[in-house]
Structures are given as structure tokens and as C-alpha cells.
């Protein structure tokens, strides 16, 4: 972004202002995440940088909060992590199956009432979570599914499918339908065509939609707060209670693990996006 030599002073000033503004915004976006790392190694019980930490005294750092997170007595994180993973995995599988099927139907040019159906399918993403929470709670209470894993999984399928529908329809929009027609003309059964031709081509879209659904479920707290009983507590719910009641550095240890997890997910999503773009590039 070097400026040409003939740039007038006022544009020069403007340019430096613009660059410093951008730097500030990037810093504002990313810096808060990095506060968590050092504090999670704090040897003391407070959520502030101790004098020792500022001097980089090795005694001021410890792994005690990680120990506490894993081995602590009466500690909820083990159960919460187990629940979170079970719920998120099943919710993701459900969202992928229902969402992909729906996206296939929606991408067909024969689909009637496309606009209104698409709007309905995407609505859980637009409707404020608190309203979804209330509505789903009423349903689950009536169906006897409140405070069960099944109930929470169903709720998260509702919230996760819009992402799968959107990503898969986007992938299908660049999809060359003549390949499936070619398969059919060569005598392939529709199911076989789907498994052997369509699915491998749209797989990046399906997986990245699945990642969205996974993260949505794994991070979701509003609906779970309404639905969960004591046995269904998840990581976000535990963090929520922790942040409201006793702010202990254990939460920061958990948060650090979550940031590492989200970094992994980000890398996977990025790789998939590039692969998908490459594949679609070939089709064009």
C-alpha cells in the first residue's frame, strides 16, 4: 500500500489515518481473545495480571486452573464437555441430513413456492434466539422432552439446519447438472448417482454447513438454558453460570481450550472453502 510520490499532503494524511484506523479495528477484533491465554496460567485466584506476571516471574504462572478443570472435585466441566459433544455431534448429523435433502429439493428448478419455503427454512437463523427458546421450550415441555438430551438435540437441529441449507444451496448453484444427467443416461439409479456423483461434488459445502451447525450447537446457550436440567448441562451453560456467579480462572482455562478448538474449526473451514472454490472452478 505504498503511496505514489506525487500524492498531495492531505491525501497522505488521510491515508495514514485510514491505515491506523484499520490497525485499530483489527486490534480491537483480535486482541480480546489473547487476554485469556496468559491469565489462564495465573497462579493466583484473581482475574487480573499480578505484579509477578507483569515481571514475567515464572512463579506467577501455573497450570493449577487446568488441573482444576480436569481433576477438580465436584467439577462440572467433564460432564458438561461430554454433554456438549454428544449434543453437538447428533445435532450436526441431523442438520446435515435434513438440510442437505432440503437444499437438493430447493435447488431443483421444479420446486414450487421456492421463496416462501426458503424463508421458512431459514427463519430460525433470523428469529431472535430468545423467541426460538421460548417457542421450543413450550413444544418440548408439551412433548415431554424438556430436560432430555433428545429435546436439546432437536432444538439444535432446528437452529443448525439453516446454515446447512444455505451453504449447500450455494454449492449447488455452481453445480453442473449435466453430470447427473449423464450418469442417469448411462443407467445409474438416482440413489447411486447421488452417492457417487452429486455427494462427492457438494461435499465441501455439506461439511462447511455441518461445521456451522456444530459450532452453533456447541456454542448455543439461550435455548439450552430453557431446556436443560441438571444432567444436561453443557459447556456454554457452565460458563454462563460461572461468569454470573463466581468468576474463577478455571473458566479461562476452559475458554483457552475453546479458542484452540475454534482455531481448528476455522482452519478446516478455510481449507474446505478453498477446495470448494477449486472444484467449482473446474466445473465452470
Amino acid at each position: 500500500m505504498a503511496l505514489p510520490k506525487y500524492t498531495e499532503t492531505r491525501y497522505r494524511i488521510w491515508h495514514y489515518f485510514y491505515i491506523s484506523l484499520c490497525t485499530f479495528v483489527f486490534f480491537f477484533l483480535i486482541a480480546p481473545l489473547f487476554v485469556i491465554f496468559p491469565l489462564s496460567f495465573n497462579a493466583e485466584e484473581f482475574l487480573v495480571f499480578s505484579e509477578g506476571m507483569k515481571k514475567l516471574d515464572p512463579d506467577a504462572f501455573s497450570l493449577r486452573w487446568y488441573e482444576e478443570m480436569i481433576y477438580g472435585t465436584k467439577n462440572p466441566w467433564g460432564l458438561a464437555a461430554k454433554n456438549s459433544f454428544i449434543i453437538a455431534i447428533f445435532a450436526t448429523i441431523g442438520s446435515i441430513i435434513l438440510g442437505t435433502l432440503a437444499a437438493l429439493g430447493l435447488s431443483s428448478r421444479h420446486m414450487p413456492y421456492k421463496g416462501i419455503i426458503m424463508a421458512t427454512l431459514i427463519s430460525p437463523m433470523i428469529v431472535p434466539l430468545i423467541i426460538s427458546g421460548v417457542a421450543i421450550f413450550f413444544f418440548m415441555a408439551k412433548a415431554g422432552l424438556a430436560a432430555t438430551h433428545t429435546g436439546i438435540i432437536f432444538a439444535h437441529i432446528v437452529l443448525g439446519t439453516p446454515f446447512v441449507v444455505i451453504t449447500v444451496t450455494a454449492t449447488l448453484s455452481g453445480f453442473d447438472h449435466s453430470v447427473t444427467r449423464a450418469a442417469s443416461s448411462l443407467g445409474s439409479h438416482p440413489v447411486n448417482t447421488f452417492m457417487k456423483i452429486t455427494l462427492p461434488l457438494i461435499l465441501p459445502g455439506v461439511i462447511s454447513g455441518g461445521l456451522f451447525a456444530f459450532v452453533t450447537s456447541f456454542d448455543e446457550v439461550v435455548v439450552v438454558l430453557f431446556l436443560a436440567g441438571l444432567d444436561n448441562t453443557t459447556i456454554p451453560v457452565q460458563m454462563w453460570t460461572g461468569l454470573r456467579e463466581q468468576l474463577s480462572p478455571t473458566i479461562l482455562a476452559v475458554a483457552t481450550c475453546l479458542i484452540i478448538l475454534s482455531t481448528l474449526i476455522l482452519v478446516t473451514a478455510e481449507l474446505l472453502r478453498r477446495r470448494s472454490e477449486r472444484l467449482r472452478g473446474i466445473n465452470r
Binding site: M1, C22, V25, F28, L29, P32, L33, V35, L39, L47, V48, F49, L98, L101, A102, G105, L106, S108, M111, P112, A119, T120, L121, I122, S123, P124, I126, P128, I131, S132, G133, V134, A135, F137, F138, F139, I157, V158, T161, V165, I166, A170, D219, V221, F226, P236, M239, W240, L243, L247, L252, A255, L258, I259, S262, T263, L266, A269, E270, R273
Partner: protein
């Protein structure tokens, strides 16, 4: 119309037109069947329950079911003078049934909302009934009036009659700090009790300002990301995407650490001499905390749509503008900016919709002056258990969001939402 001879037939002798229509119909059904499972699932677990929220919010059958005889005999009563013996008698009978079922307390509470003091005079009636002090062969009207003089006040009977319809708009009026007064007119509650209106306005204000802040911060960086060479922009993109994928609670937690009184932001202010060490400002548990945290959390939702639009704008357009004598500012304002308007619309509406329904972050960093309407809904769902009021407020919020969503759909189209 083509005549019989001109009709083209398929190999099995069916006219092509018919056969095509059949195939078309089959394809339609096939496509629909693919969508059907998800549609059905959403209808049952999501759309119908939202509709049920509506019936729940206007449902007022409780009193209607508790006093069936009273309302039947009240049908002809004009509400001007004291009710007849018949009405008193049927009210007495209904109330006796409730006392036997031990449900009289609920009626008292409900009617007390309609007319202050109702609960206490009903309790007196309850005591008489439970001690069998009412002589059913004599005039019930005189005996009831004898219990308390308020029973001879027409206002109390009018209050009962007002609860007769099985449906009520009361919860919606309450959500706007209004109520139906004794003459059936909509009136506002006293000035110092208008809490909901403050919350609605605050929700709107915070959503609006968060959207503006996100736009002011998101536009420059989206522009930078779109114009930088790929290898730098990919690296900077991580700054946008990592927060986007990180748990909301983690990000809220980090703001709680940063903004606390002994936190790093205050440390920094002390360091540069903006505030003195013993006079650190409170930045959390008020609006400042809500604004800062929500802006950072929602910023990626502004940057991503803007970026995807800016990426498609050819840089030669601005260059052409400059080469034709435009200053960099005119070239930007007249050429670049108008081309980014679809992205601005998408980003702003997305952020606004998300902000207006925010719950977790305001509840944690907002304190009392930073709470939004969602927090109030959750409060009524979990603490007061007034579910019909929570439903009513939820639907009012939903209506607002739907209006914005509709505009969004008109401007950019829902199927144009891009993720990442």
C-alpha cells in the same frame, strides 16, 4: 389450440403435451418430497409453537372457566346499576364450587389485577362460606352486600364482567405500559412505572448504535481486505474469522476481564494519564460495556457481507474515475461507495437483527442500565413465570424483526446471504 392431426405424440401414443405435464408434476413432487422432512420437522417443533405463543399470549379463559354461571347470567346485565339477585346467586354458586376445589385464591389474584381490593373482599366471602354462614334460602344479594359494602359498588361487578371474554389484549398493552381502565379505555400507566417503554427504546437505541459503530469500523477494514494483495488479506482475514468462530461466551468473558475496574483498559487509561488511579471509571455493568462488547462480537457479521460485495468491484473503475480528473474522494464517493450499497444493506440489517434480540452479552456485561428486552422476556419466563406475558413481548419483538427481515428480503434477498 392445435388440432387433432397436429398433436405430437410420444412413442407410447400419449400426446407430448400431456406426457410433459406429467413429468413436470412428477419432478415437482420429487423436489417437494426432498424438502418435506425438514419442513415438517420445523413446522412441528418450531413454527407451530411460535403460533401457540400467540394463543397463549391472548388466552384469558381462566376466569371464564371459573365463573361459568355468573357470566351466563351477566349476559343481559347492562353494567349500569347493581346486578340482580340472579347474578349474585350464580356468582355465589360459582365461588362455592371454587372454594370446594380450593381454587378461589387464583380468582382473587386475577380479579385484584382488574380492580384493587377485590382480593380482600373475596377473602371475607370465603370465610363466610367456609363457616357455612350463608343461608341459601334467604336473599343471597343482601347477605353478600352485608359482608362488605364494596359488594354494593357497581365497579367491582363491572370488573368481573370485563374478564368475561376468553381472549384479552391486556398482555400486549402491558408490554407497552398501557392498560384498560375501568371504563374500557386504553390508558397509560403512571410515569414512574413505564419500565417497558424504556426497555423497548433502549433496545432500539443499542441496536441502532451498535449497527452504526459496526458500519464505521467494518467498512474501512472490509475495504482494506478487498484491496490488499491475497497473501496479506488472507492473513488479516483471520482477525475477522477467528472471533467469528469463537464462542460467544469466551468473547464476553474476555470483555469482562478487560473492562473491569482493575482491568487492562483501565490500566491503560491510567498509564496515559486519562484518569487517576484511585478514580477508575466503571466500564462494565452499564451501557458502555454493552456497546463495546456487542460491537466487537457483531463486527464480523458486518465485515463479511461487505467484503464479499467489495471483492467483486473492479479496481479499474475507481482508477478510471481518477484518470478522468476526479479527486480520490470524488472517485470513492461517486463510484466506489454506490457500488457497495448492497453489501452495506446486508451487513447493517444482519447486525441490526442480531443486536435487537441479543441476550447473553447484555445480561453479563450490561448490568441494570444495559439490559434489553430479551432479558425481560427471559426474566418473565424463568422468574415470574408469567409465560403469557413473555409470549406477548416475544411476539412484539418478533413482529419488529419480521419487518426488518422483510425489508432485508426486498433489498438483498435471503438467498443472497453469504457465510464466510
Amino acid at each position: 389450440m392445435s388440432s387433432e392431426t397436429q398433436k405430437i405424440l410420444t412413442t407410447d401414443g400419449v400426446p407430448l403435451e400431456v406426457s410433459l405435464k406429467k413429468a413436470e408434476k412428477r419432478n415437482k413432487i420429487k423436489a417437494f418430497l426432498l424438502v418435506a422432512p425438514l419442513l415438517l420437522f420445523l413446522l412441528i417443533t418450531y413454527i407451530f409453537p411460535i403460533a401457540e405463543m400467540f394463543t397463549r399470549s391472548i388466552d384469558d379463559r381462566m376466569v371464564t372457566n371459573m365463573l361459568p354461571k355468573t357470566f351466563k347470567s351477566m349476559e343481559k346485565w347492562d353494567g349500569k346499576e347493581l346486578p340482580s339477585e340472579e347474578i349474585f346467586k350464580s356468582f355465589y354458586e360459582d365461588y362455592k364450587v371454587l372454594v370446594e376445589k380450593k381454587e378461589h385464591g387464583k380468582l382473587g389474584q386475577r380479579l385484584n389485577k382488574e380492580k384493587n381490593g377485590f382480593n380482600s373482599i373475596l377473602k371475607r366471602l370465603f370465610r363466610k362460606i367456609s363457616r357455612n354462614k350463608i343461608d341459601e334460602s334467604a336473599s343471597i344479594k343482601e347477605q353478600i352486600i352485608g359482608i362488605h359494602r364494596h359488594y354494593s359498588n357497581v365497579d367491582y361487578w363491572r370488573a368481573i364482567k370485563r374478564t368475561a371474554p376468553p381472549y384479552t389484549m391486556n398482555k400486549y398493552l402491558k408490554g407497552m405500559d398501557m392498560f384498560l381502565n375501568e371504563d374500557g379505555n386504553i390508558t397509560q400507566v403512571e410515569e414512574d412505572r413505564r419500565i417497558h417503554r424504556i426497555l423497548w427504546l433502549r433496545t432500539l437505541e443499542i441496536a441502532l448504535f451498535v449497527t452504526i459503530f459496526c458500519f464505521l469500523m467494518g467498512y474501512p477494514i472490509a475495504h482494506l481486505l478487498a484491496t490488499l494483495p491475497m497473501k496479506y488479506s488472507n492473513l488479516l482475514m483471520i482477525c475477522v474469522l477467528l472471533p467469528f468462530w469463537t464462542s460467544l461466551l469466551v468473547r464476553t468473558a474476555s470483555w469482562m476481564i478487560l473492562l473491569q475496574q482493575q482491568g487492562l483498559v483501565n490500566d491503560f487509561f491510567v498509564l496515559i494519564g486519562l484518569v487517576s488511579d484511585d478514580n477508575r471509571p466503571e466500564m462494565m455493568y452499564n451501557k458502555v460495556g454493552t456497546y463495546v462488547a456487542m460491537t466487537q462480537i457483531l463486527l464480523p457479521f458486518m465485515v463479511l457481507p461487505l467484503y464479499s460485495v467489495m471483492k467483486t468491484i473492479s479496481p479499474s473503475l475507481v482508477r478510471a474515475g481518477k484518470s478522468l480528473g476526479g479527486t480520490p474522494f470524488t472517485a470513492f464517493w461517486k463510484i466506489y461507495f454506490p457500488l457497495t450499497i448492497p453489501g452495506i444493506g446486508a451487513g447493517c440489517l444482519l447486525v441490526f437483527i442480531l443486536a435487537i434480540g441479543y441476550y447473553i452479552t447484555p445480561a453479563l456485561v450490561g448490568g441494570a442500565s444495559g439490559t434489553l428486552i430479551s432479558n425481560q422476556i427471559a426474566y418473565h419466563m424463568k422468574t415470574t413465570l408469567d409465560w403469557s406475558f413473555a409470549s406477548a413481548m416475544g411476539l412484539m419483538l418478533l413482529t419488529g424483526v419480521m419487518v426488518v427481515y422483510w425489508i432485508y428480503n426486498k433489498l438483498v434477498g435471503v438467498d443472497n446471504i453469504k457465510l464466510g
